[in-house]
């Protein structure tokens, strides 16, 4: 094969400049609004910055304080792990089931897709969280329904045992984006596989486990990682619906970080918390990737 030599130097310098000029809005934004704040927060995590004064270097003090003498930190960690651990699988399973159902729908699939995706569009917003507060409040719709069918009502948001579950349900309800990705994955599975297997006598359940799931694993991997990250970083629901209460039972990690930063002017400490969360998310993502070798199948591998 004939290899064309790279162009002579002619004009390349100029071209590069033009290129950089055109991407400069992104570059400026990326460096000033992403890279710089990230590095600055790393620096702040080693200081006692209180938002106004000059930051004083205090070494690892924020980190030692976090791990040794801040019970609320551990509480928020526990709440967040529980939340992510329960809510993420619920959302994924729900999204997959709905995607499977939609995959069978022939008529008006666009309408259903839109309707089911809607909660995700508005889901993270304050408005929905406020609605959730109304729904699960003592005089809310949920209790009214329970009362109407003769079941005992409950203070869902007021009871430390149930408040976190209302947030988990809220998270699960916003399954739309995962659902769409699953749906796209399902559409990609060749029909011929199912036809061939049904000739061999496989029923729908068997087909689901031997064809659908294995071929969907790359999509499952992607969704799991995205959702785990989202789960750890959840903020709005606990901020708006319960504000961390009652008795810190819904104090998600990011909410506690926010409280430290903006209620107590404890920016250095909050920055340190942000970095701890970054490390935790990185570890989880790495673990999921590592495990994926054992359960994710790419068609190209199976040849």
């Amino acid at each position: 094969m004939k290899v064309t030599p790279p162009n002579k130097k002619l004009n390349t310098g100029n071209k590069n400049v033009t290129g950089y000029a055109f991407i400069s809005p992104f570059l400026i934004g990326f460096f000033s609004l992403t890279i710089f704040p990230i590095l600055y927060s790393l620096y702040l995590s080693f200081t006692d910055f209180d938002m106004m004064g000059t930051p004083n270097w205090i070494g690892l003090e924020n980190y030692t304080r976090m791990f040794t003498s801040d019970p609320t930190f551990w509480k928020s960690m526990k709440v967040t792990f529980f939340y992510a651990g329960v809510a993420v699988p619920i959302r994924l399973v729900f999204a997959l089931l709905v995607a499977l159902a939609l995959n069978k729908v022939v008529e008006m699939v666009g309408l259903y897709r839109t309707l089911l995706y809607l909660p995700s569009v508005v889901g993270g917003s304050i408005a929905v969280s406020i609605m959730w507060r109304q729904l699960f409040g003592n005089d809310g719709a949920f209790n009214s329904i329970l009362a109407a069918i003769g079941l005992p009502t409950h203070s869902w948001l007021g009871d430390p045992g149930t408040a976190i579950w209302t947030l988990i349900v809220l998270y699960g309800w916003q399954f739309g984006s995962s659902m769409l990705i699953f749906l796209a994955g399902l559409r990609n599975i060749p029909k011929t596989f199912y036809e061939a297997s049904s000739v061999d006598g496989a029923g729908p359940i068997r087909q689901f486990f031997i064809i659908t799931i294995p071929l969907l694993t790359p999509v499952i991997l992607f969704n799991t990682i995205m959702q785990v990250i989202q789960g750890f970083m959840a903020f709005t629901p606990s901020f708006v619906v319960t504000n961390g209460g009652p008795v810190n039972s819904t104090l998600l990690y990011v909410l506690y970080m926010y409280q430290r930063a903006f209620e107590y002017f404890d920016m250095g400490y909050a920055s340190a918390m942000a970095w701890v969360m970054l490390v935790i998310i990185a570890i989880f993502t790495a673990l999921i990737f590592k495990s994926s070798e054992h359960w994710v199948h790419y068609e190209s591998d199976t040849k």
């Binding site: 100029n14 033009t18 938002m51 003592n138 903006f262 209620e263």
Partner: protein
Amino acid sequence: MIKKFLIFSLMAVMLASVLAACSGSEEASGEDEEGVTTLRMTWWGSQSRHDQTQEIIKAFEEENPDIKIESEFTGFDGYFEKMAAQASGNNLPDIMQQNFGEYLNQYADKELLADLTPLVEDGTIDVEGVSETIMESGKKDGKLLGIPTGTNALTAFYNKDMVEAAGLDLSDGEWTWEEYEEYATAISEETGEYGARLMEPKNLFEYYLREKGEKLFNEDGTGLGYEDDQLLVDYFERNLALEEKGAVPNYDTIQQIKGVEDELIVRGEAAFDFRWSNQATALDSSAGGKPIGMTLLPGENNDQGMYLKPAMLWSVSESSEHKEEAARFIDFFVNNVKVYEIGGSDRGVPIKEEIREELSADLSETDKKVFEYIEMVTEHSSPIDSNFPPESSEILGELQKIDELVMYGELSAEEGAEQFRSTVERVMAR
């Protein structure tokens, strides 16, 4: 070459516009073309206060056509978070409603507020004749950081009908904590509603200590002011006992309340509610026909426990470029009778005697009640404690959380009191 030049200037323009976007706020509060200064002003409060304040601003703008005020307001929840974010961006509003105690001290500590002393001395803000103790409350480390909007006091609000239904009378304000318990229980048995709202520890534990001759913080604000944890244990146990009898609600009910307008006493679901006197306006306007009385808080020594407090303060931020114009608004607020005709006692009873006298002729029912009550407190009170350390907003937040844990039964009263002390020590030691 020209092309290169054009490209670089394009980049420069883009960079400049990004930078301008970052510091855009300064322009927003700058001078408009006709020499009109725009000031930003923030406050927290109820809906009735938002409406009133906007009317007050309109009245001010009419008299001062060279100043335009842009207002931002929220409820109390979230207000100081929003301010903290603005403070970190060096973008505090020109005029801000500030709170006495933990917040003022926190802001003073960070040198975020302008010293108003020169503006008072040159007469921009006229506080002639305002009592020294009231002005003192806006001072910290010798600087005048806020002008009180009015005077305030803790109040035992009560539903007269419910109290009468139980055959009780408490207009003289002489009642002990034991009587409070008896009354709350009797009323809840009589009416089937709550006898009292669950007390909010942030204000009421401090009152409880003062009434017992103790202080929340020590003289120099480096630790707790009381030695005996039994005091906090008593406070918790009193609430627990009442909750057990059904005379006060637990937090699951309290957390559903969306604001002053939605309080149990407003809905006729509780007979007593201990809160600040300036909230009478909001309570009365939402309570419909329910007659709400005001009296001193319980305790054998309530003379010693009760105190007058600046309802809130007007402060000017250190970063403001229009301190003088901001001061002119504060002057208007303090000295113009229109302000109180519009706002009543919602930001406290006017600090100037002339204004109080001018108003007294045609006060609304609520304001008359509040004025009388403040007079009663003036005779039965001791000076306010201003030794709150900058960490106190965190400490009071912890007290609130521990109170919740105790009321939900996750900590015993003793454990709660101990945990509060150790938390305070930990926070103060940082």
